[in-house]
Amino acid sequence: MKLIDRLYKDAPLATRGEITPKLGFALTVLLAIVWLIPFLWMVVATLRPASDGINAMAELMPSLKPTLDNVRDAWEIGDFPRYTINTTIICTGILLVQFVTITLAGFAFARLDFAGKTLIFYLFLMQLMLVPVLLIVPNLSLVAQLGLYDTLTGVMMPFFASAFGTFLMRQAFEAIPTELEDAALIDGASLLQRIRHIYVPLSMPSFSAFAIISVTSHWNDFLWPLMVINSPDKRPLTVGLSVFTKTAEGTQAWGTIAAGTLMVVAPLLVVFLIFQKRFISSFVTSGIK
């Protein structure tokens, strides 16, 4: 009871005696535990030796003789180092090009007046609605025509322009006082110099927020790379994991599947746990990716 009182110590006096909010809180705690069970099982099953047998596989109590055999097996059967490199290349490539396109376009919307601004603004907005994953069929034939079928560039290309990123940068740039730019203008700085040396350095928080959203969503992309990539050595983590799961499922190697899944999700989860606040606030601004 003491503990609960401590949790409610800054609640308004009138509400402290109410039961309903406490029941809601208790239910939420219970569900949070349920929410964590798949992760708990993943870790426990990864460390469980095969000698425990299939019937103990679901046991959530960790095995007394933990082993890394499953990690080793997954590492050897699936080509996870290769997949990790491919995913890293895809995420970095997309992000670098996006930084250029969203900075330039964001600046144009934030600081320049031009004919057809409203029309072009709505053209950008349209990308937020036409979710790229729905356009896989026409985009696949375009990528093939460009000779980019079965290449990592083909996987990256549809994401090089980002309406969400453009709007995010527009907002960041609008908040920067024009006096700074005027001073640089007097010193004879060109447009690109002003963007590079005044606007970009002052907008780092927005860039990092965008980077978090962009990398998480492309780290997790599955359907599009599945369609574009054919060679096993070009698979990203998600496609690799799905193939690996199919193979290991046939032999009931659940410990190995858990280990493979752990390898795929660990990098993002570790980064999240370190930069939790930043992740949460980025996701709030994201809305639609």
Partner: protein, 325 residues
């Protein structure tokens, strides 16, 4: 409008001299203004160009190609394309696999959106005040958002595994007959809905947490003083305040129900007996497994059209959120 009237009045006064002069001068003026405004706009266009090229290729161009591809058909994968008009669309509409996928997708959309939004609201209300315990709980509920749908599928493959899986091991003992979660056509769709709810509730929670910050403190205090209980406050103060958040989250949840279906690919392949076939998986099957680009494009077109109503709605919400041009 006013200037045109003004000119007319003038031409009544001096009908002989004016018409030639007035019609020539404004046109020149307009042309000049156009070139000078284009010149002034040129830097902006150059800055927008890189983005517009990729948008033209992969968004607007893709839209155009869907419409065109939907009008053509090949008899065999190697045969030349020929114009078939609306045949692809009527073929898709007559295909029981497609109508089945649409029905499944509607059940899936309602069955994932409603519970995950309700849970998200519960989580946000319970964890609204920030302290260490609540932050940890928020993080726990948010973890599934960060993992790929494919990874979630790999975990739930075991959770739903008959007899030895996690669910049967712990809960199955309470049931008289062990259900085959992914193998039974009557249950499989609900099983994959559980994964989506697990994965998205924490995401929607963030928007409700942000929305709750906007509930005015003094109104809540006044409600306390008037003796309003938790239900009254929720019903009359909090929920009305969260209306825009509800609208926004509902739009995202419906878009997700159409686009976020990777687990169907990994876990069920649309089966058993098409019970988990969703629209996007149908499109994929037509394009990749049957090489039928015409039918795949027709199905894409129908899906896009269906989302148009939603699009118009979210367009308004989004434009408000972005603050207009």
């Amino acid at each position: 409008m006013r200037s045109i009237f003004g000119r007319h009045e003038m031409s009544f006064a001096e009908p002989a001299a004016l018409p030639v002069a007035t019609s020539a001068a404004p046109r020149l003026h307009v042309l000049k203004r156009f070139t000078s405004s284009f010149k002034a706009s040129l830097p902006a266009y150059l800055l927008l160009l890189p983005s517009l090229i990729f948008l033209a290729l992969f968004t607007y161009g893709a839209m155009g190609r869907v419409v065109i591809d939907a009008l053509y058909q090949r008899a065999t994968p190697k045969a030349p394309v020929r114009f078939v008009g609306l045949d692809n669309i009527s073929a898709v509409l007559a295909d029981p696999a497609f109508t089945g996928a649409v029905v499944n997708n509607l059940i899936y959309a309602v069955g994932t959106a409603v519970p995950s939004i309700a849970l998200a609201l519960l989580f946000a209300l319970a964890l609204a005040r920030t302290h260490a315990v609540n932050s940890a709980l928020r993080a726990a509920l948010f973890l599934p958002v960060l993992i790929p749908m494919v990874a979630a599928s790999a975990l739930f493959l075991f959770i739903f595994l008959p007899n030895v899986g996690l669910l049967d091991y712990y809960i199955g003992r309470l049931l008289p007959v062990l259900p085959n979660w992914l193998g039974d056509p009557d249950i499989a769709l609900y099983a994959i809905m559980i994964i989506t709810i697990w994965k998205n509730a924490g995401y929607y929670m963030l928007f409700f947490l942000a929305g709750l910050q906007a509930v005015p403190e003094d109104v809540m205090e006044a409600a306390h003083l008037d003796g309003a209980g938790p239900y009254m406050r929720l019903r009359h103060i909090i929920l009305p305040e969260l209306k825009p958040t509800f609208l926004f989250v509902t739009v995202i949840a419906i878009l997700n129900a159409v686009t976020q279906v990777d687990h169907v690919f990994v876990m069920t392949q649309g089966g058993p007996s098409n019970s988990t076939n969703l629209v996007l998986f149908y499109i994929y099957q037509q394009a990749v497994e049957h090489y039928d680009i015409g039918k795949a494009s027709a199905a894409t077109l129908l899906t896009l059209a269906a989302l148009m109503g939603l699009t118009a709605l979210s367009f308004r919400t989004m434009a408000n959120r972005e603050g207009g041009p």
